[in-house]
Symmetry: C2
Subunit: 183 residues, 2 copies
């Protein structure tokens, strides 16, 4: 599971850091590649502490709720770096729209086109969102190489969604052309 290692990675970058802040970092960056809810984050942090990959320190606060700060242990860093080197399998994608289209011959053309245009508009909205994020994000890198890596990751997302848009538009054209032939 990459969630564990994503957390180790962020802790390495930000230590000492609270679960709450880790969750916020997830939200604003890696979530496009590995989404996680706060429930999962806290559960996984507890497990990492159990396995002595991180240490915790309780901070008592008066006007805010108490919090715990996490830091990496040597074993945690070892675990992180050795995972970073591991070649992974191709990700298993689950793309509900494609499942729908597989059986969409049961629908009439209007319904099929709605599915596609709904997808297109969600993809466009997401693209806009990613572009806004773009500037904000690439500033944080601590080395030029880290900034380059983050830029590449963001471009991968942009290109993926641009590709989805192109494909959706093509699919709409082809389906309309096909429907037209029937007249």
């Amino acid at each position: 599971m990459s969630l564990r290692h994503a957390l180790l990675g962020f802790i390495e970058m930000l230590q000492p850091v609270s679960g709450y802040d880790l969750k916020k970092w997830f939200e604003s960056s890696i979530r496009f590649y590995w989404p996680a809810t706060h429930t999962q984050v806290y559960r996984t942090l507890a497990e990492l502490a159990d396995r002595k990959l991180v240490t915790t320190k309780k901070i008592e606060q008066t006007i805010r709720p108490d919090k715990k700060l996490y830091s990496l242990t040597d074993r945690g860093k070892q675990e992180l770096v050795s995972w970073l080197r591991e070649p992974l399998d191709l990700p298993a994608t689950r793309h509900g729209l494609m499942v729908q289209l597989s059986f969409a011959d049961l629908l009439d053309i209007g319904d099929i086109l709605s599915l596609l245009s709904n997808y297109a508009s969600k993809v466009s909205a997401h693209l806009l969102f990613l572009k806004k994020d773009q500037q904000k994000f690439s500033q944080y890198g601590r080395t030029t190489r880290e900034r380059l890596l983050w830029e590449l990751i963001l471009e991968s997302g942009l290109e993926y969604y641009r590709g989805e848009l192109r494909w959706t538009e093509k699919a709409i054209r082809r389906l309309k052309a096909h429907a037209g032939k029937g007249l």
Copy 2:
């Protein structure tokens, strides 16, 4: 969950059909968009039968193990068609390589390039595999519109992986250039 509806869709196409055959159809087609193990298939079929969306018929066999054949009920077909019309959220992708690259500044350049070239070779292998599948697959469509849909689905996969390859090659070039500057 799309698995339930993917099964309903295949049952609609192939009924009466055994769980074993449904699994094989998954393997050879939809698995790229919605992978499922045989455990999941059998469990979900039992649930669909429980909910009266499908009916089963036991076939006793001597030289082969007995089997169950599944067919759609009217309620099953209704459920399928109404799901097919539902606009879905954007799929949540989990892309481990991107998680690794997010923290890859902890690695040396050789390790980073290995991650990328390993990914590239897996993507290429998968592309070859998809292209082989291409002819075999598009023959099955029962209407011209169904064939068009399946063609579009397959193209979406091809374009995705071609995009991944292009991105990976660009990433390798940029990282090599960056490493070169340091000399």
